[in-house]
Subunit: 332 residues, 2 copies
């Protein structure tokens, strides 16, 4: 079978090549991949920026497909069943944070960008009926991260005003979709008029261009403060987010694409009783809850483009350039 | 009657002088002050560092005493009753944060450092029986702030490990006492061996000198991370606190005596799912809950020294120098 592996010595840093087929342990299932999706994590691996990189590892955390073989101890699944994979492994029992053994499929262990994947059956879930394989493959990592941020951490309520920064990234889009599903009043930040238009078409009430030096004042005048803010950028923009949070507001950060902030307005945080809450991926419980929510609210992931595995370099380049509006999906 | 007023033109910046007696509104009570206590806030007012300063305002947020006159609409109190005052006014209905009308007694409105105080009856509570007037006067502002930080915000559990930074300040001491009351395992940071000894005599398990460049490593090796951290300093020490927080840990900041941190380790916050929670004073509900807790656990505020009103300058100087171990109390 073939897979997309990390190949840091090559020009493209990845290679679509023959990889060995794995034998099945008794608690595992073999899935024929129908679609896989990219995350920033995959591109960071390609750029050599992730810890514990292994040359030859099959990349990819997101995948959907069909079960084609069952380990002898596996119960509750059948050959031919359409499934998606939870890429978060060994979270552990503590709902507040992952254990030290926590791993994400795709690095350092093999991931989903191959014709077949062998995984423990407890990572496998029935594909939501309302999603095709490409949409289902777009869901796991970003959907889980967004769900935990907006539901488990922020405990967002239907009556609240929510700001999602950096709309365009997968987690930000899911966060917006989930908040809209709840019935919350959703705003976004983006520098792209096309992305703002897309957000409004989904139901967002408005948006702000974070490059505009007046955006904080404008947002406060227009909205009167946000109860919940979901941010994957950190950096100096975090102090702007603190300024647009309502007293008692919750700011969930799930990433730091803009690095560390160069200061933090401590007085504003304690006087306005702001919470800054770190969040990463999600527990098995979060994944279950996310699937239930996606089914109940018939949420459909936004797919930007679908590439064949053979054009993986093009797909990764698109992720690197950050121009996508939705998830980038690859199919064998 | 006499009171201690802000007098920024004088050398000591305060003056113990004759002040006019106030008439009573129908919902107010007149209290003969038996003891009042200082907070950093009073010293900051003296240093001209607080907003909305009024020359001639009676300083002081904390007080205990005896009711000597009741407004005609006041119910549930009687002449001669021993009481303490909740200095937090107009918090509002939102438990998550104070309203825009929120005020603290002592600036810009008259406070407790006078022979008599006139306050709305809803600010008045029966003095806990197990406390004398000096101990009771030490409780309100710092106790309320500590209670909200450790109980309402952090929701500290008996099974948890708690770090209180800057033991020596009133809020830090109450936070340690409340956490110990709960049954939590309490550690402190301090640069003073005498303060560490005091903390251990109260039941703390240990402490760390934050000036020691190894304290973070030592704390992690010895304790294995803290579930809850209560901090009034902020500044660059905040990143040390993030390093000694357990994954999923909560850091409550109620002040910024060390100013803003010059960076924030965003990746550590989101990967370890740390929460930084701002907290200020407390709601009326927090005050009620705090009094119940103090009575149930028979908690006694630590009083460092008692000065007569006439020696207010000496008391304020002691607060400024930060050498006290417990609350500084003034009596008429």
């Amino acid at each position: 079978m073939k897979g997309i592996v990390l190949d840091l010595d090559s020009k493209s840093k990845i290679s679509y090549q023959e990889v060995p087929s794995k034998s099945l342990e008794t608690d595992q299932v073999r899935i024929q991949i129908k679609a896989a999706a990219l995350n920033h994590r995959d591109e960071w691996c390609r750029q050599g920026k992730y810890p514990n990189l292994t040359i030859g590892v099959i990349l990819g955390s997101d995948g959907s497909g069909v079960i084609i073989e069952l380990g002898s101890d596996v119960k509750g699944f059948q050959i031919g069943q359409e499934v998606i994979i939870n890429p978060a492994m060994n979270w552990g029992e503590n709902q507040e944070a992952q254990s030290k053994d926590f791993l994400i499929m795709g690095t350092p262990h093999d991931g989903t960008l191959s014709e077949e994947v062998v995984v423990a059956s407890d990572r496998v879930h029935a594909k939501p009926n309302h999603l095709n394989f490409e949409e289902a493959a777009a869901l796991p990592l970003a959907g889980l991260t967004a769900y935990r941020a907006i539901m488990y951490q922020a405990k967002t309520q239907a009556t609240e005003k929510v700001l999602i920064s950096g709309f365009g990234g997968g987690v930000a889009q899911f966060a917006a979709q989930f908040a809209l599903g709840l019935g919350a009043e959703v705003y976004i930040t983006t520098s792209s008029p096309a992305k703002l238009e897309k957000a409004i078409s989904l139901g967002a009430k408005g948006g702000f261009d974070y490059r505009d030096s007046q955006w904080v004042d404008n947002a406060n005048a227009e909205v009167g403060g946000f109860d919940v803010i979901i941010d994957g950028a950190s950096g100096d923009g975090l102090n702007d987010l603190i300024k647009v949070a309502k007293p008692g507001g919750r700011i969930v950060i799930y990433g730091a694409t803009q690095g560390n902030p160069s200061t933090l307005e401590a007085r504003r945080i304690f006087w306005n009783q702001i919470k800054i809450m770190g969040s990463t991926m999600g527990s098995d419980q979060d994944f279950d809850d996310m699937l239930t929510f996606v089914q109940n609210y018939q949420i459909k992931p936004i797919v930007d483009a679908i590439f064949p595995f053979a054009k993986a370099e093009e797909a990764f380049d698109k992720m690197r350039d950050g121009k996508q509006m939705g998830k980038i999906v690859l199919v064998p």
